[in-house]
C-alpha cells in the first residue's frame, strides 16, 4: 500500500460522519440511476420485443410504381420536383420474393400476410378488426404467436380453416372465449362464421384490441383480394440490421420495405426521450453527490491543514498530498459504486415485483424492468467521473498549501 493510500484510508475512516455523507450520496445516485434505467428501458424493450414478436423485424409491403419523371421535360422556370413515391398495393409474386430473401444470411424466416380491415360481430357486440390472413406454420416460425397464446391450442387453428385466433382485448370486447363463434363481415355484405381456436396476447394494446388471425386462403376469399399477400414479415438474426436490409430489399424487389425502427419511430422516440429525461435527472443526483464530496473534501483539506504541513515537512511531495485527497475520492467512488450497484440491483428486483395493472399501450401486471450490465457500468463511470472532478480541486488546493505558512500560523 502506498503511503498516500494508507494515509487516505486513515483520514477517511476517522471522519465517519463525513464518510457516510459522501458515501450515501454516491450509493443512492448510482442505485437510483440503475433502477430508473432498468425501468424505462424495461418498458421500451418489452414494447420492442412484443412488437417484433407480432409484426416482425422487417416488413416488405406495396410494390413501387415505376418513375416516369426522368422522361418528362420540365417546364421553364419550374423547379425539378421528384414528388412522393407511389405504390401498387400488395406484393407482386410473394413466393419469389420470399425465395430470394431467404438466401440472405440475416433472414431466419419470413411469412406472407394478407391484411384487411373488416367488421366483427359476436353476440350483441361489434368491433372493427385488423384481419391477418396467415400461413400458420410460416407465421409461427416468424413471429412469437405460439408463445402469445393464453388460451386454446394453436393446432386447433392450424387444422381448421374456419378457425381464428383472436386478440385478448378484442376477445374481452366481443365477450368471446375459446370455442365461441365470431362473424366477420365480407366486403360484399355477407357474414362469415368462424370459431375461436385460441386467444393471443401480444402485450401491446393496439394489437391485442384489434387483431384476428385467420388462414390466408380464407382471408383472401373473405376480403376478395386478388393478391395472395399484402405484406411479408421477416424474422432476422440481428434485428439491428433491419434498416440496412430494408434498403437492400427495396432496391432488389422494388417494393416498399420498412424496418421495425422506422415503423415504430414515434413510439421509440417517446421511450428514448423518457429515458434521456430520467437519465439527466438522475445524473444530476450523482452530480449533487459529487458536489457533496467536493464540500466534504474541501472541509477535510481545511481540517487537515496542519497534517498537510507536517507531512510536507517530513518529505511528502506535493503530488503525495494531492494523491491523499484523490485517493479519498477514489475510495468513496469505488465503495459507493459497488454498494450503489448492489442497492440498484436490489431496488430493480423490488420494483419488478410491485404489482401494477397496465392495460393501455402495454399489457403488464408488474413493473417491467431490464437487467443490463451497461446500466451498472455507466452509473459507475458517471460516479467515478463526478467524484474525480469533485476531488481534484480540493486535492490540488491541498498540494498547493505552503507548509511554512501553516507552521508559522500555528505558533
Amino acid at each position: 500500500m502506498t503511503p498516500p493510500l494508507y494515509i487516505a484510508l486513515r483520514f477517511l475512516t476517522h471522519r465517519k460522519r463525513a464518510l457516510l455523507l459522501s458515501l450515501s450520496g454516491v450509493v443512492f445516485g448510482v442505485a437510483i440511476f440503475i433502477c430508473t434505467q432498468a425501468q424505462t428501458q424495461g418498458l421500451s424493450r418489452y414494447f420492442i420485443e412484443s412488437n417484433i414478436g407480432s409484426n416482425g423485424a422487417l416488413v416488405v409491403r406495396s410494390r413501387f410504381r415505376p418513375r416516369y419523371e426522368p422522361l418528362m421535360v420540365a417546364a421553364k422556370n419550374s423547379k425539378a420536383n421528384t414528388g412522393r413515391r407511389l405504390y401498387f398495393e400488395g406484393i407482386t409474386n410473394p413466393n419469389e420474393i420470399m425465395r430470394v430473401s431467404r438466401q440472405f444470411p440475416d433472414v431466419i424466416s419470413c411469412s406472407p400476410v394478407l391484411r384487411g380491415t373488416v367488421s366483427a360481430r359476436a353476440g350483441f357486440e361489434n368491433a372493427t378488426v385488423d384481419l391477418y390472413g396467415i400461413d400458420p406454420a410460416l407465421h409461427a416460425q416468424t413471429t412469437d404467436l405460439l408463445h402469445q397464446l393464453i388460451d386454446g391450442r394453436f393446432d386447433d387453428f392450424r387444422n381448421n380453416t374456419s378457425a381464428i385466433i383472436i386478440g385478448s382485448r378484442l376477445a374481452e370486447l366481443l365477450q368471446t372465449s375459446v370455442g365461441d363463434t365470431v362473424q366477420l363481415l365480407a366486403p360484399n355484405g355477407e357474414y362469415w362464421r368462424f370459431s375461436v381456436a385460441a386467444i393471443a396476447r401480444a402485450g401491446i394494446g393496439s394489437i391485442d384490441s384489434t387483431r384476428i388471425y385467420s388462414h390466408a386462403k380464407v382471408a383472401q376469399a373473405l376480403l376478395q383480394q386478388p393478391s395472395g399477400a399484402t405484406m411479408i414479415i421477416y424474422k432476422l438474426r440481428d434485428r439491428n440490421r433491419a434498416p440496412v436490409l430494408a434498403s437492400r430489399f427495396e432496391t432488389l424487389f422494388q417494393h416498399n420495405a420498412l424496418s421495425w425502427q422506422e415503423r415504430e419511430e414515434s413510439t421509440l422516440q417517446l421511450f428514448l426521450t423518457l429515458r434521456m429525461s430520467v437519465a439527466i435527472t438522475v445524473s444530476l443526483i450523482i452530480l449533487l453527490a459529487g458536489f457533496g464530496i467536493f464540500n466534504v473534501l474541501t472541509m477535510s483539506v481545511l481540517a487537515k491543514i496542519k497534517e498537510i504541513a507536517i507531512l510536507r515537512s517530513m518529505g511528502y511531495r506535493r503530488r503525495d498530498i494531492s494523491a491523499i485527497f484523490l485517493w479519498q475520492g477514489a475510495l468513496i467512488a469505488a465503495a459507493g459504486s459497488v454498494l450503489g450497484c448492489a442497492l440498484g440491483a436490489l431496488m430493480t428486483w423490488g420494483v419488478s415485483h410491485i404489482p401494477i395493472r397496465l392495460r393501455g399501450l402495454l399489457y403488464t401486471n408488474y413493473f417491467l424492468v431490464t437487467w443490463d450490465w451497461r446500466h451498472y457500468a455507466f452509473a459507475t463511470l458517471l460516479a467515478l467521473l463526478a467524484v474525480f472532478i469533485a476531488s481534484y480541486v480540493p486535492a490540488r488546493r491541498a498540494a498547493e498549501l505552503p507548509p511554512v505558512v501553516t507552521i508559522r500560523g500555528s505558533r
Binding site: R312, S313, M314, G315, Y316, D320, P403
Partner: protein, 235 residues
C-alpha cells in the same frame, strides 16, 4: 582537523510579507553546523530564528544566499528533490508537536519511514517501537496521539524526527510548550542522541537554561546573527 559540516548556509536573505508589511526577516545569515554538535539560536520573538530554521530545513526558500547539506548545495533543487532531502536527511520537531491526530504513536513514527520506503512493514514497526522505547513511550505504542499528554506528544515528535535516521535535527522551540521537568527530559534526550549517534542539532529556543547547555549559542537580532559563542567542547 575540523569536524564534518552537516548543514550550512551562506549569506541568507529572506523577506516576508508584502508592500508596507514587508519585513527583512534574514539579513546575510551564515552558519555551519557540524556533526555531533548542538547549536542553539536565541533572540527575541520576530528576530528570524524560525525563518532561519525553515530555510535550513528546506521548507522555505531564501530570496538570496545558499544552503548546503554536507557539501551538496541544495538551492537549485526542485520541490520534489527538496522533499526527498527533507525525508532522508532532516528531522523536524515543532513547538506544538504537530502529530497526526488520527494515528497512534507508533503510526506517527512510521509515517516518514513509509515515505522513504526502505523498510518492510514489520521492520518499520520494530524501528518505531525501538525509537518510542528510547523516549520512554515503549508502553504507549498503540495509543492514539490525541490521548497522550503534552510531554508524551513531544517525545513522540522526537522519535518521529529520528525515524529515518536523519543527519540533522531542526527543532523550533521544542520545549516551549512543556513544563520544566518535561523540557529538561526532552532536551537531554535530544542532546544524548546527537552526541551518541553523531547527529547535528539546531534548535531555536527562548529557554536560557537549554541554550546554556548547547555546544554553540547563536544570538540573533533583527534578522542577523550578532554573536556566536562556543559553550561546550567535546573531544
Amino acid at each position: 582537523m575540523s569536524a564534518q559540516v552537516s548543514l550550512s548556509c551562506d549569506r541568507l536573505e529572506r523577506y516576508l510579507g508584502e508592500e508596507e508589511e514587508r519585513v527583512h526577516a534574514l539579513r546575510g545569515v551564515s552558519l555551519e553546523i557540524e556533526t555531533g554538535s548542538v547549536h542553539a539560536v536565541v533572540g527575541p520573538s520576530g528576530c528570524g530564528k524560525s525563518s532561519l530554521l525553515y530555510i535550513l530545513g528546506l521548507l522555505d526558500t531564501p530570496d538570496a544566499g545558499s544552503v548546503a547539506i554536507e557539501t551538496e548545495a541544495v538551492s537549485h533543487l526542485s520541490d520534489d528533490e527538496l522533499a526527498q532531502k527533507r525525508n532522508k536527511f532532516i528531522g523536524f520537531i515543532f513547538q506544538f508537536h504537530f502529530l497526526m491526530e488520527d494515528f497512534t504513536a507508533e503510526e506517527n513514527v512510521m509515517i516518514p519511514m513509509r515515505k522513504l520506503g526502505q523498510l518492510s512493514d514489520a521492520q518499520m514497526r520494530d524501528r518505531a517501537a525501538e525509537l518510542l522505547d528510547g523516549v520512554g513511550l515503549g508502553d504507549k505504542l498503540r495509543r492514539p496521539s490525541r490521548h497522550l499528554s503534552g510531554g508524551e506528544q513531544q517525545r513522540v515528535a522526537i522519535a518521529r524526527a529520528l525515524a529515518n535516521d536523519p543527519h540533522v535535527i531542526l527543532a523550533d522551540e521544542p520545549t516551549g510548550n512543556l513544563d520544566t521537568a518535561n523540557s529538561e527530559r526532552a532536551f537531554e534526550l535530544l542532546q544524548n542522541l546527537v552526541h551518541e549517534r553523531g547527529k547535528a542539532l539546531l534548535l531555536a529556543t527562548h529557554n536560557p537554561a537549554i541554550a546554556e547547555a548547547c555546544d554553540w549559542v547563536h544570538e540573533m537580532k533583527d534578522g542577523s546573527i550578532i554573536d556566536s559563542q562556543l559553550r561546550n567542547t567535546r573531544s
